[in-house]
Symmetry: C2
Subunit: 257 residues, 2 copies
Protein backbone atom coordinates (compact mmCIF):
# COMPACT_ATOMS: atom_id res chain seq x y z
CA UNK A 1 0.00 0.00 0.00
CA UNK A 2 1.32 3.35 -0.92
CA UNK A 3 2.23 6.03 1.56
CA UNK A 4 -1.12 7.57 2.35
CA UNK A 5 -2.18 10.60 4.30
CA UNK A 6 -1.53 9.14 7.71
CA UNK A 7 1.25 7.23 9.28
CA UNK A 8 -0.18 3.84 10.13
CA UNK A 9 -1.59 2.60 6.88
CA UNK A 10 -3.55 -0.27 8.29
CA UNK A 11 -6.70 0.74 10.13
CA UNK A 12 -7.77 -2.86 10.68
CA UNK A 13 -5.44 -4.58 13.14
CA UNK A 14 -5.92 -8.01 11.62
CA UNK A 15 -4.17 -6.91 8.47
CA UNK A 16 -7.44 -6.96 6.57
CA UNK A 17 -7.44 -4.00 4.23
CA UNK A 18 -10.79 -2.76 3.03
CA UNK A 19 -10.42 -2.18 -0.70
CA UNK A 20 -11.34 1.47 -1.38
CA UNK A 21 -13.44 0.64 -4.40
CA UNK A 22 -15.73 -1.31 -2.12
CA UNK A 23 -16.46 1.92 -0.26
CA UNK A 24 -17.05 3.53 -3.62
CA UNK A 25 -19.73 0.95 -4.37
CA UNK A 26 -21.08 1.00 -0.85
CA UNK A 27 -24.68 -0.11 -0.74
CA UNK A 28 -24.39 -2.38 -3.75
CA UNK A 29 -25.09 -6.08 -3.34
CA UNK A 30 -22.18 -8.35 -2.48
CA UNK A 31 -22.85 -10.20 -5.69
CA UNK A 32 -22.31 -6.98 -7.60
CA UNK A 33 -19.09 -6.38 -5.71
CA UNK A 34 -17.87 -9.80 -6.74
CA UNK A 35 -18.65 -9.09 -10.36
CA UNK A 36 -16.80 -5.80 -10.15
CA UNK A 37 -13.83 -7.52 -8.57
CA UNK A 38 -13.71 -9.93 -11.50
CA UNK A 39 -14.30 -7.32 -14.19
CA UNK A 40 -11.86 -4.67 -13.10
CA UNK A 41 -8.31 -4.86 -14.27
CA UNK A 42 -5.56 -5.69 -11.85
CA UNK A 43 -4.23 -2.56 -10.24
CA UNK A 44 -1.61 -0.82 -12.30
CA UNK A 45 1.18 0.47 -10.08
CA UNK A 46 2.29 4.03 -10.68
CA UNK A 47 5.27 5.74 -9.13
CA UNK A 48 5.00 9.09 -7.41
CA UNK A 49 5.17 11.90 -9.94
CA UNK A 50 4.22 9.74 -12.90
CA UNK A 51 1.39 10.58 -15.22
CA UNK A 52 -1.60 8.20 -15.08
CA UNK A 53 -3.29 9.60 -18.14
CA UNK A 54 -2.53 12.80 -19.97
CA UNK A 55 -4.89 15.65 -20.82
CA UNK A 56 -7.05 14.51 -23.69
CA UNK A 57 -6.09 10.88 -23.46
CA UNK A 58 -9.03 9.11 -21.92
CA UNK A 59 -8.69 5.57 -20.66
CA UNK A 60 -11.59 3.55 -22.09
CA UNK A 61 -13.87 2.89 -19.17
CA UNK A 62 -14.16 3.89 -15.55
CA UNK A 63 -10.76 4.64 -14.08
CA UNK A 64 -10.59 3.90 -10.38
CA UNK A 65 -8.00 4.94 -7.84
CA UNK A 66 -7.24 1.98 -5.59
CA UNK A 67 -4.47 3.48 -3.55
CA UNK A 68 -2.41 6.62 -3.14
CA UNK A 69 -2.99 10.32 -3.79
CA UNK A 70 -3.58 11.63 -7.29
CA UNK A 71 -4.05 15.13 -8.64
CA UNK A 72 -6.43 15.84 -11.51
CA UNK A 73 -5.26 18.86 -13.45
CA UNK A 74 -5.85 20.74 -16.64
CA UNK A 75 -3.27 22.32 -18.86
CA UNK A 76 -3.57 25.40 -21.03
CA UNK A 77 -1.75 25.50 -24.38
CA UNK A 78 0.86 27.89 -22.98
CA UNK A 79 1.64 25.73 -19.98
CA UNK A 80 -0.49 27.28 -17.26
CA UNK A 81 -1.69 24.53 -14.96
CA UNK A 82 -4.69 24.24 -12.69
CA UNK A 83 -5.13 21.42 -10.19
CA UNK A 84 -8.81 20.49 -10.22
CA UNK A 85 -9.01 17.88 -7.52
CA UNK A 86 -6.90 15.91 -5.10
CA UNK A 87 -8.21 12.37 -5.44
CA UNK A 88 -8.10 9.89 -2.58
CA UNK A 89 -8.42 6.09 -2.75
CA UNK A 90 -11.87 5.09 -3.96
CA UNK A 91 -12.17 8.07 -6.30
CA UNK A 92 -13.33 7.83 -9.89
CA UNK A 93 -10.50 9.45 -11.83
CA UNK A 94 -12.34 9.32 -15.10
CA UNK A 95 -15.73 8.14 -16.20
CA UNK A 96 -15.02 6.97 -19.71
CA UNK A 97 -18.02 7.64 -21.90
CA UNK A 98 -18.32 11.39 -22.18
CA UNK A 99 -21.10 13.05 -24.09
CA UNK A 100 -19.44 16.14 -25.45
CA UNK A 101 -15.79 15.84 -24.57
CA UNK A 102 -15.43 19.41 -23.43
CA UNK A 103 -12.81 19.57 -20.74
CA UNK A 104 -9.73 17.46 -21.05
CA UNK A 105 -7.81 16.87 -17.90
CA UNK A 106 -4.95 14.68 -16.86
CA UNK A 107 -4.12 12.69 -13.76
CA UNK A 108 -0.77 12.60 -12.03
CA UNK A 109 0.26 10.49 -9.06
CA UNK A 110 1.33 12.48 -5.99
CA UNK A 111 2.43 9.35 -4.14
CA UNK A 112 3.04 5.84 -5.38
CA UNK A 113 -0.43 4.83 -6.47
CA UNK A 114 -2.50 1.97 -7.82
CA UNK A 115 -5.18 2.47 -10.46
CA UNK A 116 -7.47 0.01 -12.18
CA UNK A 117 -9.90 0.12 -15.03
CA UNK A 118 -13.47 -1.06 -15.29
CA UNK A 119 -14.06 -1.50 -19.04
CA UNK A 120 -17.06 0.04 -20.66
CA UNK A 121 -18.65 -3.26 -21.68
CA UNK A 122 -18.21 -4.70 -18.20
CA UNK A 123 -19.93 -1.66 -16.74
CA UNK A 124 -22.84 -1.98 -19.14
CA UNK A 125 -23.36 -5.65 -18.31
CA UNK A 126 -22.88 -5.03 -14.62
CA UNK A 127 -25.39 -2.25 -14.62
CA UNK A 128 -27.94 -4.46 -16.33
CA UNK A 129 -27.70 -7.26 -13.81
CA UNK A 130 -27.20 -4.96 -10.81
CA UNK A 131 -28.98 -1.66 -11.43
CA UNK A 132 -27.88 -0.15 -8.14
CA UNK A 133 -24.37 0.16 -9.54
CA UNK A 134 -25.32 2.74 -12.14
CA UNK A 135 -27.28 4.81 -9.68
CA UNK A 136 -24.48 4.67 -7.17
CA UNK A 137 -22.02 5.95 -9.76
CA UNK A 138 -24.41 8.78 -10.54
CA UNK A 139 -24.41 9.70 -6.87
CA UNK A 140 -20.64 9.69 -6.76
CA UNK A 141 -20.34 11.80 -9.91
CA UNK A 142 -22.91 14.21 -8.50
CA UNK A 143 -20.91 14.48 -5.31
CA UNK A 144 -17.79 15.22 -7.34
CA UNK A 145 -19.69 17.91 -9.18
CA UNK A 146 -20.63 19.53 -5.89
CA UNK A 147 -17.05 19.43 -4.67
CA UNK A 148 -15.89 21.01 -7.90
CA UNK A 149 -18.50 23.74 -7.46
CA UNK A 150 -17.03 24.35 -4.05
CA UNK A 151 -13.53 24.75 -5.50
CA UNK A 152 -14.89 27.09 -8.12
CA UNK A 153 -16.43 29.23 -5.41
CA UNK A 154 -13.15 29.29 -3.56
CA UNK A 155 -11.00 30.26 -6.50
CA UNK A 156 -13.56 32.75 -7.75
CA UNK A 157 -14.61 34.53 -4.58
CA UNK A 158 -12.35 33.87 -1.65
CA UNK A 159 -9.19 35.77 -0.72
CA UNK A 160 -5.83 34.02 -0.78
CA UNK A 161 -5.96 33.51 2.97
CA UNK A 162 -9.44 32.03 2.82
CA UNK A 163 -8.59 29.84 -0.13
CA UNK A 164 -5.57 28.25 1.49
CA UNK A 165 -7.40 27.75 4.78
CA UNK A 166 -10.36 26.26 2.98
CA UNK A 167 -8.24 23.83 0.99
CA UNK A 168 -6.31 22.64 4.02
CA UNK A 169 -9.53 22.15 5.95
CA UNK A 170 -11.09 20.26 3.08
CA UNK A 171 -8.10 17.97 2.73
CA UNK A 172 -8.01 17.39 6.45
CA UNK A 173 -11.69 16.48 6.63
CA UNK A 174 -11.58 14.24 3.57
CA UNK A 175 -8.40 12.47 4.63
CA UNK A 176 -9.76 11.88 8.11
CA UNK A 177 -12.98 10.46 6.70
CA UNK A 178 -10.82 8.09 4.66
CA UNK A 179 -8.55 7.02 7.51
CA UNK A 180 -10.64 7.51 10.63
CA UNK A 181 -8.22 5.78 12.96
CA UNK A 182 -6.30 8.93 13.80
CA UNK A 183 -7.84 11.53 16.02
CA UNK A 184 -4.94 13.88 16.42
CA UNK A 185 -5.07 17.18 14.60
CA UNK A 186 -2.12 16.29 12.43
CA UNK A 187 -1.79 14.76 9.03
CA UNK A 188 0.84 14.12 6.39
CA UNK A 189 -0.13 15.63 3.08
CA UNK A 190 1.94 14.58 0.08
CA UNK A 191 1.95 18.13 -1.24
CA UNK A 192 4.38 20.95 -1.80
CA UNK A 193 3.45 24.59 -1.42
CA UNK A 194 3.60 24.78 -5.19
CA UNK A 195 0.84 22.15 -5.37
CA UNK A 196 -1.32 24.19 -3.04
CA UNK A 197 -0.69 27.14 -5.29
CA UNK A 198 -1.74 25.24 -8.38
CA UNK A 199 -4.94 24.15 -6.69
CA UNK A 200 -5.85 27.56 -5.26
CA UNK A 201 -4.75 29.55 -8.29
CA UNK A 202 -2.03 31.36 -6.37
CA UNK A 203 1.72 31.47 -6.84
CA UNK A 204 3.85 29.29 -4.64
CA UNK A 205 5.44 32.43 -3.28
CA UNK A 206 2.16 33.85 -2.12
CA UNK A 207 1.03 30.54 -0.66
CA UNK A 208 4.15 30.66 1.43
CA UNK A 209 3.33 34.12 2.75
CA UNK A 210 -0.23 33.11 3.57
CA UNK A 211 0.93 29.97 5.35
CA UNK A 212 3.29 32.03 7.48
CA UNK A 213 0.42 34.32 8.46
CA UNK A 214 -1.86 31.42 9.31
CA UNK A 215 0.86 29.83 11.39
CA UNK A 216 1.70 33.08 13.19
CA UNK A 217 -1.98 33.57 13.90
CA UNK A 218 -2.11 30.12 15.46
CA UNK A 219 -4.74 28.82 13.07
CA UNK A 220 -3.11 26.11 10.99
CA UNK A 221 0.41 25.01 10.22
CA UNK A 222 1.86 23.30 7.16
CA UNK A 223 5.56 22.68 7.27
CA UNK A 224 7.36 20.15 5.18
CA UNK A 225 4.27 18.18 4.23
CA UNK A 226 2.93 17.99 7.74
CA UNK A 227 -0.41 19.66 8.40
CA UNK A 228 -1.33 20.73 11.93
CA UNK A 229 -4.68 22.14 12.88
CA UNK A 230 -3.99 24.65 15.64
CA UNK A 231 -7.39 26.24 16.11
CA UNK A 232 -10.29 24.37 14.45
CA UNK A 233 -12.92 27.00 15.16
CA UNK A 234 -10.91 29.87 13.75
CA UNK A 235 -9.91 27.72 10.81
CA UNK A 236 -13.57 27.15 9.99
CA UNK A 237 -14.12 30.85 10.42
CA UNK A 238 -11.28 31.89 8.11
CA UNK A 239 -12.31 29.30 5.54
CA UNK A 240 -15.50 31.23 5.03
CA UNK A 241 -17.67 28.18 5.43
CA UNK A 242 -21.12 28.78 6.72
CA UNK A 243 -20.88 27.24 10.24
CA UNK A 244 -24.24 25.57 9.70
CA UNK A 245 -22.85 23.85 6.66
CA UNK A 246 -19.65 22.93 8.42
CA UNK A 247 -21.67 20.30 10.26
CA UNK A 248 -22.58 18.51 7.05
CA UNK A 249 -18.98 18.86 6.10
CA UNK A 250 -17.94 16.74 9.04
CA UNK A 251 -17.06 19.50 11.45
CA UNK A 252 -13.82 18.51 13.10
CA UNK A 253 -15.00 19.36 16.60
CA UNK A 254 -13.40 16.33 18.14
CA UNK A 255 -10.03 16.42 16.53
CA UNK A 256 -8.06 17.09 19.68
CA UNK A 257 -9.82 14.79 22.09
Amino acid sequence: MAKGGNDSKDPLPGGGWQAPWKELFEGCSSEALNMIARAKSDGRKVRAGQEIFGPGRRPGGVCLLDDGWVSLYSLLPDGRRQILHFALPGAVLDFGPVLRANAAYGAQALTDAVVSLLPQEALDGLSRSHPEVGLRLAQVMSSDRSLSYDHLTSVGRRSARERVAHLLLELFVRARAQWPCHRVAELNLPLTQAHIGEATALTGVHVNRVLRELRNDGIVGFHYRRLTILDPDRLIDVSGIDPQLAVGWGKPDAIDE
Copy 2:
Protein backbone atom coordinates in the same frame (compact mmCIF):
# COMPACT_ATOMS: atom_id res chain seq x y z
CA MET B 1 -42.43 27.83 -23.58
CA ALA B 2 -40.21 30.38 -21.96
CA LYS B 3 -38.07 32.81 -23.86
CA GLY B 4 -35.03 30.74 -24.71
CA GLY B 5 -31.72 31.54 -26.26
CA ASN B 6 -33.02 32.04 -29.74
CA ASP B 7 -35.89 33.83 -31.29
CA SER B 8 -38.08 31.17 -32.83
CA LYS B 9 -38.81 28.81 -29.99
CA ASP B 10 -40.18 26.02 -32.04
CA PRO B 11 -37.57 24.07 -33.97
CA LEU B 12 -40.07 21.56 -35.27
CA PRO B 13 -42.45 23.17 -37.74
CA GLY B 14 -45.28 20.83 -36.91
CA GLY B 15 -45.59 22.32 -33.48
CA GLY B 16 -44.20 19.17 -31.90
CA TRP B 17 -41.87 20.16 -29.12
CA GLN B 18 -39.28 17.61 -28.08
CA ALA B 19 -39.34 17.58 -24.27
CA PRO B 20 -35.79 18.37 -23.11
CA TRP B 21 -35.76 15.66 -20.50
CA LYS B 22 -36.12 13.14 -23.28
CA GLU B 23 -32.80 14.32 -24.63
CA LEU B 24 -31.42 14.00 -21.13
CA PHE B 25 -32.43 10.35 -21.07
CA GLU B 26 -31.38 9.77 -24.65
CA GLY B 27 -30.59 6.14 -25.29
CA CYS B 28 -33.00 4.84 -22.70
CA SER B 29 -35.83 2.57 -23.78
CA SER B 30 -39.13 4.18 -24.70
CA GLU B 31 -40.73 2.20 -21.93
CA ALA B 32 -38.37 3.86 -19.47
CA LEU B 33 -39.24 7.25 -20.90
CA ASN B 34 -42.91 6.53 -20.33
CA MET B 35 -42.26 5.60 -16.74
CA ILE B 36 -40.28 8.77 -16.24
CA ALA B 37 -43.07 10.82 -17.76
CA ARG B 38 -45.48 9.31 -15.27
CA ALA B 39 -43.20 9.55 -12.25
CA LYS B 40 -42.00 13.10 -12.66
CA SER B 41 -44.01 15.90 -11.18
CA ASP B 42 -45.82 18.30 -13.44
CA GLY B 43 -43.60 21.16 -14.38
CA ARG B 44 -43.54 23.92 -11.80
CA LYS B 45 -43.58 27.31 -13.48
CA VAL B 46 -41.08 29.83 -12.18
CA ARG B 47 -40.90 33.49 -13.13
CA ALA B 48 -37.68 35.11 -14.29
CA GLY B 49 -35.58 36.16 -11.35
CA GLN B 50 -37.29 33.82 -8.89
CA GLU B 51 -35.39 31.37 -6.75
CA ILE B 52 -35.99 27.69 -7.58
CA PHE B 53 -34.26 26.36 -4.52
CA GLY B 54 -32.04 28.20 -2.10
CA PRO B 55 -28.49 27.36 -1.03
CA GLY B 56 -28.69 24.47 1.38
CA ARG B 57 -32.30 23.62 0.68
CA ARG B 58 -32.24 20.53 -1.46
CA PRO B 59 -35.36 19.38 -3.23
CA GLY B 60 -35.85 15.69 -2.44
CA GLY B 61 -35.05 13.87 -5.65
CA VAL B 62 -33.67 14.69 -9.05
CA CYS B 63 -34.54 18.24 -10.03
CA LEU B 64 -34.91 18.66 -13.79
CA LEU B 65 -35.01 21.81 -15.87
CA ASP B 66 -37.75 21.46 -18.48
CA ASP B 67 -37.59 24.91 -19.97
CA GLY B 68 -35.82 28.25 -19.62
CA TRP B 69 -32.39 29.36 -18.45
CA VAL B 70 -31.31 28.87 -14.86
CA SER B 71 -28.17 29.87 -12.99
CA LEU B 72 -26.66 27.67 -10.31
CA TYR B 73 -24.81 29.77 -7.79
CA SER B 74 -23.20 29.60 -4.39
CA LEU B 75 -23.32 32.23 -1.70
CA LEU B 76 -20.69 33.04 0.91
CA PRO B 77 -21.83 34.11 4.38
CA ASP B 78 -20.91 37.72 3.67
CA GLY B 79 -22.86 37.87 0.44
CA ARG B 80 -20.22 37.23 -2.17
CA ARG B 81 -21.78 35.27 -5.00
CA GLN B 82 -20.36 32.91 -7.59
CA ILE B 83 -22.32 31.62 -10.54
CA LEU B 84 -21.34 27.99 -11.04
CA HIS B 85 -23.25 27.05 -14.15
CA PHE B 86 -25.75 28.36 -16.64
CA ALA B 87 -28.23 25.51 -17.01
CA LEU B 88 -30.16 24.93 -20.22
CA PRO B 89 -33.31 22.85 -20.70
CA GLY B 90 -32.63 19.18 -20.02
CA ALA B 91 -30.12 19.91 -17.26
CA VAL B 92 -30.10 18.20 -13.90
CA LEU B 93 -30.26 21.09 -11.45
CA ASP B 94 -29.81 18.91 -8.44
CA PHE B 95 -29.27 15.21 -7.90
CA GLY B 96 -30.99 14.73 -4.59
CA PRO B 97 -29.16 12.10 -2.62
CA VAL B 98 -25.77 13.51 -1.78
CA LEU B 99 -23.18 11.55 0.12
CA ARG B 100 -21.42 14.19 2.14
CA ALA B 101 -23.39 17.37 1.62
CA ASN B 102 -20.35 19.52 1.06
CA ALA B 103 -21.20 22.35 -1.25
CA ALA B 104 -24.56 23.98 -0.98
CA TYR B 105 -25.72 25.89 -3.98
CA GLY B 106 -28.92 27.52 -5.09
CA ALA B 107 -30.75 27.82 -8.38
CA GLN B 108 -32.29 30.97 -9.77
CA ALA B 109 -34.33 31.39 -12.92
CA LEU B 110 -32.83 33.74 -15.49
CA THR B 111 -35.90 33.55 -17.72
CA ASP B 112 -39.36 32.23 -17.02
CA ALA B 113 -38.67 28.57 -16.47
CA VAL B 114 -40.26 25.21 -15.82
CA VAL B 115 -38.78 22.67 -13.42
CA SER B 116 -39.97 19.25 -12.36
CA LEU B 117 -38.98 16.72 -9.78
CA LEU B 118 -38.27 13.03 -10.07
CA PRO B 119 -38.74 11.69 -6.53
CA GLN B 120 -36.08 9.53 -4.99
CA GLU B 121 -38.29 6.44 -4.66
CA ALA B 122 -39.41 6.71 -8.27
CA LEU B 123 -35.81 6.89 -9.39
CA ASP B 124 -34.89 3.81 -7.37
CA GLY B 125 -37.74 1.80 -8.84
CA LEU B 126 -37.10 3.10 -12.30
CA SER B 127 -33.45 2.23 -12.10
CA ARG B 128 -34.30 -1.31 -11.04
CA SER B 129 -36.61 -1.98 -13.96
CA HIS B 130 -34.56 0.02 -16.48
CA PRO B 131 -30.89 -0.11 -15.50
CA GLU B 132 -29.81 2.11 -18.38
CA VAL B 133 -31.35 5.09 -16.60
CA GLY B 134 -28.90 5.04 -13.70
CA LEU B 135 -25.93 4.70 -15.98
CA ARG B 136 -27.16 7.49 -18.19
CA LEU B 137 -27.50 9.80 -15.20
CA ALA B 138 -23.97 8.90 -14.19
CA GLN B 139 -22.81 9.95 -17.65
CA VAL B 140 -24.63 13.24 -17.40
CA MET B 141 -23.25 13.96 -13.93
CA SER B 142 -19.78 13.09 -15.15
CA SER B 143 -20.20 15.48 -18.04
CA ASP B 144 -21.27 18.20 -15.62
CA ARG B 145 -18.19 17.50 -13.56
CA SER B 146 -16.01 18.00 -16.61
CA LEU B 147 -17.71 21.25 -17.47
CA SER B 148 -17.23 22.48 -13.93
CA TYR B 149 -13.55 21.57 -14.18
CA ASP B 150 -13.41 23.70 -17.27
CA HIS B 151 -14.90 26.67 -15.45
CA LEU B 152 -12.48 26.15 -12.60
CA THR B 153 -9.59 26.27 -15.06
CA SER B 154 -10.96 29.46 -16.55
CA VAL B 155 -11.43 31.29 -13.28
CA GLY B 156 -8.16 30.02 -11.90
CA ARG B 157 -5.79 30.48 -14.79
CA ARG B 158 -7.17 32.64 -17.57
CA SER B 159 -7.00 36.41 -17.85
CA ALA B 160 -10.15 38.50 -17.75
CA ARG B 161 -10.17 38.79 -21.52
CA GLU B 162 -9.75 35.05 -21.97
CA ARG B 163 -12.38 34.27 -19.36
CA VAL B 164 -15.06 36.40 -20.91
CA ALA B 165 -14.28 35.14 -24.40
CA HIS B 166 -14.30 31.56 -23.19
CA LEU B 167 -17.65 31.92 -21.42
CA LEU B 168 -19.32 33.55 -24.40
CA LEU B 169 -18.00 30.85 -26.70
CA GLU B 170 -19.16 28.13 -24.35
CA LEU B 171 -22.63 29.59 -24.09
CA PHE B 172 -22.84 30.02 -27.82
CA VAL B 173 -21.83 26.44 -28.51
CA ARG B 174 -24.11 24.98 -25.88
CA ALA B 175 -27.08 27.07 -26.89
CA ARG B 176 -26.59 26.21 -30.52
CA ALA B 177 -26.40 22.51 -29.70
CA GLN B 178 -29.70 22.93 -27.88
CA TRP B 179 -31.47 24.86 -30.64
CA PRO B 180 -29.72 23.82 -33.84
CA CYS B 181 -32.19 25.50 -36.15
CA HIS B 182 -30.32 28.78 -36.25
CA ARG B 183 -27.09 29.03 -38.15
CA VAL B 184 -26.42 32.70 -37.85
CA ALA B 185 -23.66 33.83 -35.55
CA GLU B 186 -26.07 35.62 -33.27
CA LEU B 187 -27.87 34.62 -30.15
CA ASN B 188 -29.98 36.16 -27.42
CA LEU B 189 -28.49 35.47 -24.02
CA PRO B 190 -30.71 36.28 -21.05
CA LEU B 191 -27.76 37.72 -19.14
CA THR B 192 -26.56 41.07 -17.90
CA GLN B 193 -22.91 42.03 -17.75
CA ALA B 194 -23.18 41.60 -14.01
CA HIS B 195 -24.15 37.96 -14.55
CA ILE B 196 -21.10 37.43 -16.72
CA GLY B 197 -19.06 38.97 -13.95
CA GLU B 198 -20.49 36.66 -11.34
CA ALA B 199 -19.72 33.66 -13.52
CA THR B 200 -16.17 34.70 -14.44
CA ALA B 201 -15.28 36.09 -11.01
CA LEU B 202 -14.85 39.61 -12.34
CA THR B 203 -16.63 42.83 -11.48
CA GLY B 204 -19.35 44.03 -13.79
CA VAL B 205 -17.29 47.12 -14.44
CA HIS B 206 -14.34 45.13 -15.67
CA VAL B 207 -16.52 42.85 -17.77
CA ASN B 208 -17.74 45.96 -19.47
CA ARG B 209 -14.20 47.10 -20.28
CA VAL B 210 -13.27 43.67 -21.61
CA LEU B 211 -16.39 43.51 -23.76
CA ARG B 212 -15.55 46.87 -25.28
CA GLU B 213 -12.06 45.62 -26.13
CA LEU B 214 -13.38 42.42 -27.68
CA ARG B 215 -15.90 44.39 -29.72
CA ASN B 216 -13.29 46.93 -30.85
CA ASP B 217 -11.00 44.09 -31.84
CA GLY B 218 -13.78 42.61 -33.95
CA ILE B 219 -13.85 39.32 -32.10
CA VAL B 220 -17.19 39.11 -30.34
CA GLY B 221 -19.93 41.53 -29.41
CA PHE B 222 -22.42 41.48 -26.55
CA HIS B 223 -24.77 44.41 -26.40
CA TYR B 224 -28.05 44.42 -24.56
CA ARG B 225 -28.34 40.67 -24.28
CA ARG B 226 -27.51 40.01 -27.87
CA LEU B 227 -24.38 38.01 -28.59
CA THR B 228 -22.65 38.30 -31.95
CA ILE B 229 -19.69 36.22 -33.00
CA LEU B 230 -17.60 38.44 -35.23
CA ASP B 231 -14.51 36.31 -35.76
CA PRO B 232 -14.87 32.64 -34.74
CA ASP B 233 -11.24 31.72 -35.26
CA ARG B 234 -9.84 34.56 -33.20
CA LEU B 235 -12.50 33.93 -30.56
CA ILE B 236 -11.29 30.35 -30.21
CA ASP B 237 -7.77 31.68 -30.08
CA VAL B 238 -8.47 34.24 -27.38
CA SER B 239 -10.46 31.71 -25.36
CA GLY B 240 -7.31 29.75 -24.85
CA ILE B 241 -8.85 26.52 -25.99
CA ASP B 242 -6.54 24.00 -27.50
CA PRO B 243 -7.64 24.10 -31.15
CA GLN B 244 -7.52 20.30 -31.27
CA LEU B 245 -9.98 20.18 -28.44
CA ALA B 246 -12.19 22.82 -29.99
CA VAL B 247 -13.29 20.15 -32.41
CA GLY B 248 -14.70 17.96 -29.68
CA TRP B 249 -16.25 21.13 -28.33
CA GLY B 250 -18.28 21.51 -31.45
CA LYS B 251 -16.09 23.99 -33.31
CA PRO B 252 -18.37 26.62 -34.76
CA ASP B 253 -16.75 26.68 -38.14
CA ALA B 254 -20.01 26.87 -39.98
CA ILE B 255 -21.71 29.59 -38.04
CA ASP B 256 -21.72 32.19 -40.76
CA GLU B 257 -22.65 30.06 -43.70
